[in-house]
């Protein structure tokens, strides 16, 4: 095993990068340079990264306005190199509607959590979908209110222990989780629905494609698009960061099916 050393800048590198090696991966400049304050092992930054990669690759940085809800991911408002509006909890789809209606040629997306979109703001997203607003609504679903410390949301799964369901979510007392993209399938104004996940590298790459399809749907004016992404929340799930992907795979993925749910025929396969 070769030894490594810590460079003065804090970067660890192999002793030299050999001639003939090209850089194949670096984080998108749209993510900004500063670190974010989200927990170790949080899945949200993975989703945000591939979203930014899409916007960069589509050349849409200067054409994009995004609306962020209230949650841990709100921190990205100060980091992303995009025009951003902050919305109140649950309200981002309405706010994004206002922006898109007055700036119809801009790429407008919302970034919200399951607490924000599916719990507090379900009316806003349902009506934006019903009206067929040509925005892209993105939900980072970690089945918990992460920012307040791990409380039940509309997507917490049966048996999931949270600070407001200490013995586990019990249908008799707490009802059942909501599968939002499936709910919107029949809406004529809805063009693209999908659910991704970021618990494995392959899942992250697939999520990037789902985002791309949703954004393309908007670019072509085909209607409302929504992507829900399952993200790890070890803090809210009371597991270690390393256990996050396993919890996600065993507890969330069986409840929230990953894949495309509705796709407009105009998008090339």
């Amino acid at each position: 095993m070769s030894s490594t050393h810590v460079e003065q800048s804090g970067t660890i590198a192999a002793p030299d990068v050999k001639a003939g090696l090209e850089k194949v991966f670096t984080r998108s400049p749209l993510l900004g340079t500063d670190t974010h304050s989200l927990c170790p092992g949080c899945g949200e930054p993975n989703a945000v990264r591939v979203l930014m990669e899409n916007i960069e690759e589509m050349g849409e940085r200067e054409n994009t306005v995004c609306v962020l809800g209230i949650g841990c991911y709100t921190a990205f408002a100060a980091l992303m190199d995009l025009d951003t509006q902050q919305a109140m909890h649950g309200r981002a789809p309405a706010q994004a509607t206002g922006i898109k209606r007055v700036l119809p040629d801009r790429l407008v997306f919302t970034l919200q959590g399951d607490g924000d979109m599916i719990t507090e703001g379900i009316q806003e997203v349902i009506h934006a979908a019903a009206r067929g607003e040509k925005i892209t609504a993105i939900c980072l679903n970690n089945a918990a209110f992460g920012e307040t410390g791990g409380h039940m949301t509309a997507t917490s799964v049966i048996g999931q222990r949270t600070k407001s369901t200490l013995e586990g979510r019990d249908p008799a007392r707490h009802g059942y989780p909501i599968r939002l993209p499936e709910m919107l399938t029949g809406f004529e104004g809805v063009a693209y629905l999908a659910r991704g996940s970021v618990h494995t590298p392959v899942a992250v790459k697939k999520t990037k494609k789902l985002f791309r399809a949703a954004l393309e749907t908007q670019k072509r004016g085909l209607g409302f698009s929504l992507v829900e992404v399952l993200t790890m929340c070890p803090t809210g799930w009371f597991v270690t960061p390393a256990e996050g992907p396993k919890f996600q795979e065993e507890r969330l993925v069986p409840v929230f099916r990953v894949g495309e749910i509705k796709r407009p025929k105009e998008l090339e396969v």
Binding site: V65, T84, Q86, A87, A94, L103
Partner: protein
């Protein structure tokens, strides 16, 4: 109203007569359009419904957007988005609907979103709600209370102007009678609204050839953005939630110095001052004139800006020791501001009261000059014996 870096919606010409005979709600809506409003949300609710109906027809004619929203909460947030994108945006609602919007109204003060909000209220019972911050916190919207359809027209122009001059949301507080009374109006921007406005360097339109902009009420700052002086470096805390609160309070004081407006009449020799706001002011003023004809020296004050409230006018009245009779269609709300204004140096009588018809929408028997005259007689100070 052109915007430098967007494809313009609402570039359709604003045609229309210079004068028209319109009910107050329609007049206000048309004036908003003439003032460049191109995004409107509404939810049908008596007595603001007619503003939505007018906009639903008129907005498409000028290439603007009118959305009949599914809830007032959605509407105010759509207006937030549109105004934040640099377009003049407005919503009209009523009383209970205003209650639903409170969170966003308060946060729009903090986020400095220059939208215009209209409350065509039921009676005048929303005075407290309108003037005590419109939501949580210590900060307030600018609140204008027109007293006629013509003044509503001027107020529409003025509301957008003040909103953008101060980058602060503005609330127009009318009522059933204002909304539904038809009068002849002339459409022209009032002289105080022709000064040039600052460029919208905060609008989120897509970061074309520039650094990104962040519109937030939470006191979050992006790298390089100064907050109260210096910028921030990597790793420094990016959020000071209290900064927008302090800035809003400071701004409110500056607005109070510059924008307080009040109508006064017959004050020089007044021995009693009658005060009212909104269209009810006309009844109170008429009653004051009738009282004069009976030999009573009655003066008249009608606050036009409810925020900033004309405390100085009442402070002068208080200093002169002149009693004040407050007439309003509620259980006593503006009277509290009058008491604050006179600072305990003059007697303040409440001669108003809740007066609506049985439906809870319209006005009742108190809204009548002869009724007010009777109340004036009751509280007019007895002359000292010679």
């Amino acid at each position: 109203m052109s915007h430098p870096d967007r494809e313009s919606i609402g570039s359709g010409a604003t045609l229309g007569p210079a004068r028209a005979f319109l009910e107050g709600g329609h007049a206000l809506a048309e004036a908003a359009i003439r003032a460049g409003c191109r995004f409107y949300c509404g939810y049908p609710m008596t007595p603001s419904t007619e503003v939505l109906e007018y906009m639903a027809k008129r907005m498409p004619e000028v290439g603007g957007v009118c959305i009949n929203v599914e809830a007032e909460i959605e509407g105010i947030n759509m207006v937030w988005g549109a105004a934040g994108a640099g377009v003049r945006a407005m919503i009209a609602s009523t009383t209970n609907g205003m209650s639903l919007m409170q969170e966003s109204l308060a946060e729009m003060v903090l986020g400095r979103i220059p939208a215009v909000v209209v409350n065509m209220g039921r009676a005048q019972g929303d005075y407290n709600q309108c003037t005590r911050s419109g939501g949580h916190g210590s900060h307030r919207m600018i609140v204008l209370a027109p007293g006629s359809a013509q003044e509503a027209v001027e107020t529409a122009y003025r509301a957008f102007h003040l909103a953008e001059k101060w980058r602060h949301p503005v609330l127009i507080y009318g009522d059933f009678m204002l909304s539904h009374t038809s009068e002849t109006v002339t459409f022209a921007p009032p002289p105080d609204t022709v000064e040039p406005l600052p460029e919208k360097t905060w609008a989120t339109t897509g970061a074309r050839g520039r650094k990104p902009r962040l519109l937030t009420s939470l006191g979050m700052r992006i790298e390089g953005e100064p907050a109260g002086g210096g910028g921030i470096g990597p790793g420094e805390h990016r959020t000071d939630t209290t900064a927008p609160m302090r800035e809003a309070v400071k701004r409110h004081l500056e607005i109070a110095r510059a924008e307080t407006r009040v109508e006064t009449a017959m004050l020089d020799d007044a021995e009693l001052v009658v005060t009212a706001f909104g269209i009810l002011g006309r009844f109170a003023k008429y009653a004051a004139r009738l009282a004069r004809e009976e030999g009573m020296r009655v003066g008249y004050v009608r606050p036009y800006t409810l925020v900033p409230f004309p405390y100085a006018t009442f402070a002068e009245i208080g200093a002169r020791g002149i009693p004040v009779a407050v007439f309003e269609n509620n259980a006593g709300q503006m009277v509290q501001d009058v008491r604050l204004g006179v600072e305990g140096r003059a007697k303040v009588d409440f001669i108003g009261g809740i007066s609506m018809d049985g439906s809870g929408f319209g006005v009742g028997p108190n809204v009548d000059a002869l009724h007010i005259l009777e109340k004036i007689r009751e509280v007019y100070p007895q002359r000292r014996a010679a």
